[in-house]
């Protein structure tokens, strides 16, 4: 099934690949709205300030099954002032949640890298919470050639 759909998607061309997979999955995809709800839950309703976070993602991800993601939050990471939590959400996946990272002053840097799945071209939003209760956000658009959420 998986291989068939990939082959079909390839045959149909890059542009329609994501749509094909959506159709075959029959699943409802997250929306910026759903991602926004996750963020609101994380911030307790506070509106995060833009900035302080740099996100590294490829501009174009050929294979949505594994897309390298790294982020770095500008923070002193001392006992008095550090980034405690970082939420990563994807606006166009079946579920917006990607991961929540927890840091301590022992982390030394509010920085991490992992590999994520992306179903389609979409924005990745990163929200950071500091020990002082402040929130910062940044986002990046990734174009996905072949979606990575099954099918």
């Amino acid at each position: 099934m998986r291989h068939l759909s990939r082959r079909a998607a390839l045959a149909l061309g890059a542009g329609s690949a994501a749509i094909t997979l959506v159709g075959w999955n029959g699943g409802a995809f997250a929306t910026p709205q759903a991602a926004g709800d996750d963020i609101a839950k994380f911030t307790g309703g506070a509106t995060p300030e833009k900035g302080k976070i740099s996100i590294e993602l490829p501009e174009i991800a050929e294979n949505g099954n594994t897309v390298p993601l790294s982020f770095s939050v500008d923070a002193p990471m001392t006992d008095a002032d550090y980034v405690s939590d970082v939420l990563v959400v994807a606006e166009g996946n079946p579920n917006p949640g990607v991961a929540t990272f927890h840091f301590t002053p022992l982390s030394g840097k509010a920085e991490a890298a992992t590999r994520i799945r992306l179903a389609t071209t979409q924005n990745i939003v990163v929200v950071a919470k500091t020990s002082g209760g402040k929130f910062y956000t940044s986002q990046k658009l990734v174009k996905v050639t072949i979606g990575g959420c099954g099918g």
Binding site: M77, F101, S107, T114
Partner: protein, 107 residues
Amino acid sequence: MAETPKIRVPKTAKKGEIVEIKTLLPHIMESGQRKDKDGKTIPRKIINKFAAEFNGKPVFSTNIEPAIAANPYMQFFAKVEESGTFKFTWTDDDGSVTTAEEKIAVA
């Protein structure tokens, strides 16, 4: 069934140095979105939590959703003030836990 994690921690560091740590656990990370050939949804089975501690104190952890790719890879940092042991823990949806330890000598 328990797979062996791949871990990279420097053997030595200077006091107060921020060291880079890389971990990877071979795991399918079945998203719960895929269907088998009969059209039935394949149940979700992922690593849903990863945690790293140093000498018993939390350094870094992450709550993981199915949107993390197969063979979950994590790269992060730790500030080391003393020699000791890192302990890494991966928690599966089925409740099984994989752990690993790495020592570092701090001068």
